[in-house]
Symmetry: C2
Subunit: 246 residues, 2 copies
C-alpha cells in the first residue's frame, strides 16, 4: 500500500515464447487477455514483434503503452552515448510503469521468449524491483522454438550446450565452437559472415543449421552452408549434440 | 494412410514445462485436455512427475499408457546391461505407440520441460520418426523455471551461458565453470559433493545458487553454500551472468 492508501498494482513481465500465440503459457495467455494495461518495447514506427504475437488477444478497453527504443543501430555499441541513451530510456520506462502501479494498476509487460534470458525486460526489472511488486512469467525461449523447428533434439545424455552471441570476437567464437558438444548462437544479423568463418575454422560447417523466424510466419530451416549471406535479426544458429543414447 | 486404408494417427511429444500446470503452453493444454490416448514415462510403482503435472486435466474417457522404466539406478550407467535394457524398453514403447497410430489413434506423450532438451521422449522420437506422423510441442525448460525462481536474470548482453551435467568428471566441470559467464548444471542428485568441489575450485561458490523443485510444490532457492549435502533429482545449479547492461 502507498502512503495514500492505494493498493499497489503489480508489474508482470510475461514471456510470450518464440512467436506463435499458442506457444505462450496458459498463465501468460490468461494475464494478457485480462490485462487493462499492456506495455511493450518496439522500434519507433514499427508495430514490434511482441505486440504482433498478441494480436487479437487484448481486451477492447485495454490501454497500450508502447516503449519506443531511442536508438537501435544508428549509434555503435561501443559509443558511450549508446549506453547513456538506453539507460535514460529504461529509467523513463520504469518511471512510467511505477506511476501506473502506484495508481493501483496492474500492468502486463510483453516479453518475447523468456524474460530472464537475454531480454530487454531485465533492464526494467532491475530498476523496478523493490519499488513496486513485480512478477515474472517464464516463457519458451526462441532457441527451443528453433531446435524444435529443425526436427532434431539439441542435447542428449551428458552433452555440454554452449550459448553464445554472434557479437563475440571471431577467435573467441571459434574457440567456443570447438569446445562444445551442442551450440546455440543468437544475435546474428550482420555478424553472419564472421560466424560462418568461425564455424568453418572449428571444422563444424556440415553440422550447423540456421533457423530464421522460428515458430513465426516465414520460418526457414537450412543447413548453414545453404543459407544466404545476410541473416535477419530473428536468426539462430544451431549445432545439435550427438551424445550418449541407448 | 496404411495399407488397410486407416488414416494414421499422430504421436504428439508435448512439453509440459517446469512443473506448474499453467506454465505449459496453450497448445499443450489444448492437446492434453482433448486427448483420447495419453502416454508418459514413470518409475515402476510411482505416479511420475509428468502425470502429476496434468492431474485433473485428462478427459474422463482418456486411456492412459504408462511406460515404466525397467532400470533407474540399480544398474550403473557404465554397465552394458544398462544400455541394452533401456534400448529394448524404448523399442517396446515405440512399438506400442506405433500400433496405436496405425489403428488411427492420436497419442499425446507427456514430456517434462522441453521434449528436445535432454528429454526421454527423444529416444522414442528417433525410433518413431519416419514410421508414423510425429509432432513436437516445445515447452518452458526446467532451467527457465529455476532462474525465474531466483528472481535474477540468467544472462545479459553478450554473456556466454554453459549448460553442463553434474555427471561430468570433476576436473572437466571445474574447467567449464571457470570458462563461462553464466552456468546451468542439471542431473545433480548424488553428484552434489563433486559439483560443490568443482564450483569451489573455480572460485565461484559465492555466486552459485541451488534451486530444488523449481515451479513445483516444495520449491527451494538457496545459495549453494547453504544447501544440504544431498540434492533431489529435480535440482538445478545456477550462476547468473553479470554482462553488459546500460
Amino acid at each position: 500500500m502507498t502512503a495514500q492508501g492505494v493498493i499497489l498494482g503489480t508489474i508482470h513481465g510475461v514471456g510470450l515464447g518464440p512467436g506463435a500465440a499458442d506457444l505462450m503459457s496458459v498463465r501468460a495467455d490468461r494475464l494478457i487477455r485480462g490485462a487493462r494495461h499492456v506495455a511493450y518495447f518496439r522500434k519507433a514506427g514499427a508495430q514490434g514483434q511482441a505486440r504482433r504475437i498478441v494480436d487479437g488477444m487484448l481486451a477492447g478497453d485495454a490501454t497500450e503503452h508502447p516503449m519506443e527504443y531511442p536508438v537501435t543501430t544508428e549509434i555503435p555499441l561501443s559509443d558511450p552515448r549508446y549506453n547513456a541513451a538506453l539507460a535514460a530510456f529504461y529509467a523513463d520506462c520504469a518511471a512510467r510503469l511505477t506511476a501506473l502501479a502506484q495508481a493501483g494498476h496492474d500492468v502486463v509487460v510483453l516479453c518475447e521468449g523468456d524474460p530472464f534470458f537475454y531480454g530487454s525486460f531485465m533492464h526494467l526489472y532491475t530498476r523496478l524491483n523493490g519499488g513496486v511488486p513485480v512478477q515474472v512469467v517464464p516463457g519458451i525461449t526462441g532457441m527451443s522454438g528453433a531446435w524444435t523447428a529443425t526436427g532434431q533434439p539439441i542435447t542428449w545424455g551428458d552433452d555440454v550446450l554452449t550459448i553464445a552471441m554472434g557479437t563475440m570476437p571471431e577467435d573467441e567464437l571459434t574457440r567456443r565452437i570447438r569446445d562444445t558438444d551442442a551450440l546455440v548462437v543468437m544475435k546474428i544479423g550482420r555478424n553472419l559472415p564472421k560466424l560462418r568463418r568461425a564455424v568453418a575454422a572449428a571444422g563444424r560447417t556440415d553440422q550447423a543449421w540456421l533457423v530464421e523466424y522460428a515458430q513465426m510466419p516465414g520460418q526457414q530451416v537450412r543447413p548453414l552452408a545453404q543459407a544466404d549471406a545476410v541473416a535477419p535479426y530473428f536468426s539462430i544458429l544451431l549445432i545439435h549434440g550427438q551424445g550418449r543414447r541407448p
